[in-house]
Amino acid sequence: MIEFVNVSLAFNSYTVLDRVSFKADFHERIAILGGSGEGKTTILRLILALIRPDEGNILIDGQDITELSESQLREHRMKFSVVFQEGALFDSMNVKENVAFCLREYTNLSEEKIDERVRELLKKLKIENAIHLMPEELSGGMQRRVAIARSMAECESRMMLYDEATTGLDPLTADNICTLIKDISEGVPPGRVGFIIVTHKVTDAIKIAERFLYLRNGKIAFDGDIAALYSVEDPEFRNFINELFVAEKCR
């Protein structure tokens, strides 16, 4: 269980999050929506304890992670896999080395076993031919796929975190990534590996998520499921998700 309790954070004089509170289970499929600079990515970084809040508490499985030291946080971070915007691949390593990074760092698997696991993951994501390519030789969609493969190589993770996973991709590739995200999260709760996706593309979010949070002015202005999303009355949020209604009309 992830629990934000009155979390506030400001960068200099700019308030990003203002007493934000919410709870989420590890098996949930959540989309955090909001405009640029509303603190969507900040929430992911707070969950991973890459930054600390100015005020409030963040409880993961009942443990307040804001009080843990960097060495204690290692175990906590292993509960999550993250795919950052643009993939965040190590540009000095090829695809295979990127995907194998965690396996080499933390397991005693032989090179053959690592190779086997990497090939299996790349095959699943349909990029096995790119195994020896460097990140700069990959397209945007392929980079995201490699980043997803790398995050999947971490066997212990209980939840996936996606930061703008479909931003900057053409509709077809974005659709493929959405399908992939959904496939990874297949299964029945509570055994399912859930995810939190941060995006401003409502149409992508609606394809994969079951719960939606909308951030505005540092606060959660909406928290509900898909039915609630369609019946939302707040004019500003309605305006934000307007593309959804346009798509519905076209259909």
Binding site: R45, L48, L50, V82, F84, A88, F90, E105, E154
Partner: protein, 268 residues
């Protein structure tokens, strides 16, 4: 005016001072912890070898080229001055002393700061901006050990090696000028170089590169890892890394010279 300052600007100034104190604290932690990271598991030997190759082999050509011309220019200047006093034959001794004790370590450290310092700061800076450092932390890898320690160790080891090579090439440049341009005896030049190759001079000349290498690596890694704000932030951190490294080399050169002269018992 004062009231306005106290209410409006003072809190921000105070915040800036607080930020500066935190930055100094972070730099202190990085510079103290990074060399000791090599004594504890996990060991990143591959990264150290890669960095040694980048810093050492990669800088060799420019160090040799610059050192050769420094040696030649110095020899020209000194022999011209000494010729007026009829003491041209002492060119070798003065060139040797200046290069081994002072000019060699400082000039090569400055080249190193320009090439390696900027490279390290921009590489780590782009890793910060591209969330690669965050990925390391998420995977439970300590960025200080994985990224900083190999660079600090490599710089500490490679700068003295480059200095020895650079000094040798500069002395050869000096020999070339004093023999073929100033028409002095080559064997006399080398015998004078041999005379100044005592413990004091070699110790003084070789202590500095270790300290300079440590300073350049720590400053560059720190500036790289504190990069914020996209391309302009990267430009700023790279420039700052080089400027601070170079300034600190000059300042520490003076301090080390003073300390070494004191401990080696020289009369000033």
């Amino acid at each position: 005016m004062l009231v306005r300052y106290l209410i409006v600007k003072y809190p921000y100034d105070l915040m800036d001072i607080k930020k500066l104190v935190f930055r100094l604290q972070d730099f202190y932690i990085l510079s103290i912890k990074s060399p000791f990271g090599s004594f504890r598991r996990p060991f990143y030997f591959r990264e150290i070898i890669e960095q040694m190759d980048y810093m050492g082999t990669g800088s060799l050509f420019i160090v040799v080229l610059v050192s050769l011309f420094i040696g030649m220019a110095l020899s020209l200047q000194i022999s011209a001055e000494l010729a007026e006093m009829g003491m041209k034959m002492y060119t070798g001794k003065i060139v040797g002393l200046v290069i081994i004790r002072e000019l060699g370590p400082v000039s090569i450290a400055l080249i190193f700061a320009g090439r390696v310092g900027s490279g390290v700061a921009s590489e780590l800076g782009s890793m910060m901006l591209g969330h690669q450092v965050d990925i390391l932390r998420v995977h439970g890898v300590n960025p200080l050990k994985k990224l900083v320690t190999p660079r600090v160790i490599s710089a500490i080891l490679m700068l003295p090696v480059l200095t020895v090579i650079g000094d040798a090439v500069a002395l050869f440049g000096g020999y070339f000028i004093s023999t073929f341009v100033s028409h002095q005896s080559g064997s006399f030049y080398w015998s004078q170089i041999q005379d100044i190759m005592d413990f004091e001079n070699i110790f003084a000349g070789l202590t500095k590169p270790f300290v300079f290498g440590y300073i350049i690596a720590c400053v560059s890694c720190y500036m790289g890892l504190s990069t914020k704000g996209g391309a302009s932030g990267l430009r700023s951190s790279t420039t700052t890394a080089v400027v601070i490294s170079m300034t600190m080399i000059i300042v520490f050169d003076f301090l080390l010279t003073r300390i070494l002269l004191y401990f080696l018992g020289a009369n000033v």
